[in-house]
Symmetry: C2
Subunit: 364 residues, 2 copies
Amino acid sequence: VSRTSDRSRAVRPRIADVAREAGVSKASVSFAFNQPGRLRPETATRIRGVAEAMGYRPHPVARTHKQQRTMMLGVLTPQELPVVFRNPWFGHLAEGISAVAGAGGYGLAFVSPLGGSLAIATGRAMVDGMVCVGLSHDHPEVEYLRATGIPMVLVDSDHFPAFSSVEVDDEGGARAATEHLLALGHRDVVVVAIQGPTARARAEGSPGGTVTLRRLSGYRAGFAAAGIELGDDHVLSGAASVEGGLSCMRRAWAAGLRPTAALCMADAMAIGALAAARELNLHVPRDLSIVGFDDIDVSRYTEPPLTTVHQPIRRKGEEAARLLLSSLSPEGSPAVEHRQFETRLVVRSSSGPARPNGQEVTRA
Amino acid sequence: VSRTSDRSRAVRPRIADVAREAGVSKASVSFAFNQPGRLRPETATRIRGVAEAMGYRPHPVARTHKQQRTMMLGVLTPQELPVVFRNPWFGHLAEGISAVAGAGGYGLAFVSPLGGSLAIATGRAMVDGMVCVGLSHDHPEVEYLRATGIPMVLVDSDHFPAFSSVEVDDEGGARAATEHLLALGHRDVVVVAIQGPTARARAEGSPGGTVTLRRLSGYRAGFAAAGIELGDDHVLSGAASVEGGLSCMRRAWAAGLRPTAALCMADAMAIGALAAARELNLHVPRDLSIVGFDDIDVSRYTEPPLTTVHQPIRRKGEEAARLLLSSLSPEGSPAVEHRQFETRLVVRSSSGPARPNGQEVTRA
DNA sequence: GTGAAAGCGCTAACAG
DNA sequence: CTGTTAGCGCTTTCAC
């Protein structure tokens, strides 16, 4: 067998090549890299010199294979990566996760459905542990994931007895948002919900996912306390992105709805709602109040600045990674912990008094 | 040696265990998973049943080791991950990369300095190829990277003869932005630059990085054509984030600068500049014009909507991944290609006529 | 201080 | 159709 590939890519020298060239054993070469103290200094230096000259580099997979740990953390999302990255919320979460992962010497790999299957993707994932984002019990492959034995920490997911979790008080936050609107006199409100990642939810265009359901129930509770019922036709679902929010609002108007306010489950969607309002020639908040959820960085700089439910996104990421690392380290606590952060309503300028009852907006 | 770890974590069954249990050879088990066609259907089914019952799953690292390909793409950034994720621009790029990587069956791993060293991180990276973002020739470890032999595609980086690249016309875009401001009568303008990732640049607080330099030269060229020189004291550097832009503007004002406009190298920074204006009680664009760069999704929804230089961020990501995949596949073209996309100025409302010459803003 | 050798767990060429 | 076997490239214990 020729040592040169047909693509004529340079052949990577192996540890044996270096050993031969340096006139030592493979073990010595390994020591030169991993435990230089065990070699006579001059030997170590010489070996490394030879290795460098040959362009030798320990093969990361072989090394990992032997070591039985990858020093990688996985970030698992039931949605495809492009849709995940489209939501700035995820960037903030990744900030938090990567900060503590990096500090602990861990790298990050993103695990999302491969060929439509999370199971396949998970099976391929070379990670020591996973942060799972938005995993619900009704996910078709959740049992598989649970059974893999991979240490996991759940963020914004259903609870599983075996795993630690990090979340926020979604219901409370949603309820606070509703009460805010109610206090401003709003009675006709649409909910812009995050669509579930499951095929079923997508097919039905229905909301889904743990967080979605919790927030929905918070909204409902708020309305119920005021004796108002939130009709199913007033709940629109879409992707958690600007585009998704925009499309929900368009659908609402197309369906003849003329609400005075919109409760959005993600700031990205709320920004989309802002765009929709602009399209419809609606002034925010005079003609339409918009309340978001998340309080991502840009929300305070939108036009108008967004009233929204704040949650500590980065801290959630940090905490999740911390929990995971601690369950990974031999000295760390293997105890499962459930951490819930508070939410709080941040009132800015996208919400205001409802326009007088029944008075439809005049298109300019 | 006990087969049970002290952390009492369930022992993962190996292929040999399944083979023994099913009364077949390891090869048959492997075939049952990878080439079921080579087994009698009933045998294959039985084996998979046994495997399932035992909770067997092929070890991803071992599998990868044997296969000699990881089916993973790396995304390399000279900056630490948290700072990278702080810039929405990167989210858009990741959208593009992940879309084509996922379609090609590849996963994504993020590679950023580990213990301060890109070399260490790269050495550990189990990837088939890398998309390098913002790599400049003057990076201390760039030679190491080049020498690894890992297939790479460069985004927004200096050119390297061996690698394909994807970029935009930074200089042209920057120049267009400058000319726009000049046409509006601005003569006293500060530049809010992206700080280089190198320790040196950080220490000096100086701008750095390929893209930064290109845009800076575009700005300079624009001013020069009008006979104006951009003083070094008018160039502030910071992280490519809202926070970074805010801090640059604070520093500018603290230094006694009272420009009528700011040219920001990233929309995230421009949003920070918007925040600074608010702090300083400056109306945008009446007292201060702000021009960004990137045209990220939210830029059209800020208060006021951002005048900025548009670049096709997602397409850059897609193109980079496509180039990389094609160089990875046996049939793909190994040719190095350099792809440059156009930029174009998008005028929105954050820029306007300069306030009359010499007339300082009155703080409200 | 240095080297020999035994794996890590899997895949696939080759025999049977 | 099924099993034997030879690695993939490295690390690390154990002996010298």
